[in-house]
Symmetry: C2
Subunit: 226 residues, 2 copies
């Protein structure tokens, strides 16, 4: 089964407090997006990569040379719009779609290959880790309604991996219904597609704040030391 | 209303991979526990501090000189046992109990005073922040059951602040029922006591891993620069 990767990289970097979007910032001397795209480019299971950008020109300049990058296209208003735009570009079916945040450059090859192999069996999968914090659900008035058993609560990461047909169907239905999901998988969940948790890693962080970059550099340094 | 702080500091530091428990490690030159206890000691609303330790002798040596530290006592098997042990020591009623992790030294005075003032109105409060990740609930077989609306999901921190009577009653009932809660507040929730979310901060982190220390140092550095 062929795999197309969709990498939404249209973030504006507002939370970093600077002008440069996070995916363009250097991480140990190399832009975040380059690290992310290289991993997918080097993965033997991945056939093509569609990068969905805010700034198409700068993005193409940065990662257009990777041989598997088939398209660098303009993103939409919401992340979901960008993923949907990417989905229009993927190659002929049957096909597995692997959506991964541009700003999660610490994903490992082992984990990527693992979740792609598991896609032979499951039509929808998300990487996720058990939450470290105690989670509480609360009403808008700020009163706690529930403290769910921690063993049932997961923090979701990417990749999220889907068979193309149920994914496309779920996105079309979401557009028809005017629904914006918290993540891609939630759109399949509302169609009744079983979504499987694939074990992620606490190192597979999303780079959002300056502190996240500090942590990422420390993790990379540790990996380089072996 | 008088306030007693209970600071569970009995952690063994297993997750740090080293022999020294996290509360004893230096953070910008000063042990974590010293920073935490100093904040409570300097808070005009706090009357007394009970520190519940794993290693009573080392702990007392480190923070016993703060004038408001009334007791340094031996902790129990679970965090809940330690808090309960601390609760036996607090001064006469009526009283507010403020439980705070030893390894959350970045709590600010403003936030501490804010939640203590709000305790005049609410008998149970927890500091919490909206979750940044998408959270999913899953069954033991790893299939997602729910992606709760993010606006209803909070990651809990400390302080957790309670009126002494409902707190003591909830702990006694938990012991009688053999229940170990994920946090103190969950014990009051199961008694039907309304628990209020008090807005925490993403800077009020719990120091668990070496990376957490990096982040904490960066935050402190930024605060010192103003």
């Amino acid at each position: 089964m062929a795999v197309s990767a969709i990498i939404p990289a249209a973030g504006s970097g507002r939370r970093m407090g600077g002008g440069t979007a996070k995916q363009f910032l250097p991480l140990r001397g190399e832009p975040v997006l380059v690290r992310t795209v290289r991993l997918f480019s080097e993965c033997p299971l991945v056939d093509e990569i569609v990068v969905v950008a805010g700034d198409v020109e700068s993005t193409a300049e940065l990662i257009g040379h990777f041989p598997k990058v088939a398209y660098v296209i303009q993103g939409g208003k919401e992340r979901q719009d960008s993923v949907w735009a990417g989905l229009q570009k993927v190659h002929s079916r049957p096909r597995i779609i692997c959506v991964h945040d541009a700003v999660r450059p610490l994903l490992t090859m082992e984990m990527l290959e693992g979740v792609l192999h598991a896609a032979a069996e499951h039509q929808a999968q998300v990487l996720a880790v058990p939450v470290k914090d105690t989670i509480k659900m609360a009403k808008p008035d700020g009163i706690v309604t529930q403290t769910p058993d921690r063993s049932t609560v997961f923090a979701v990461q990417t990749p999220q991996v889907f068979w193309v047909e149920p994914m496309a169907q779920a996105f079309r239905q979401a557009i028809a219904d005017g629904v914006v999901g918290t993540d891609c998988a939630s759109l399949l969940e509302r169609m009744g597609v079983p979504v499987h948790i694939y074990p992620g890693s606490n190192e597979n962080i999303k780079l959002t704040t300056p502190e996240d970059f500090l942590v990422a550099e420390a993790i990379l340094e540790r990996r380089e030391r072996g």
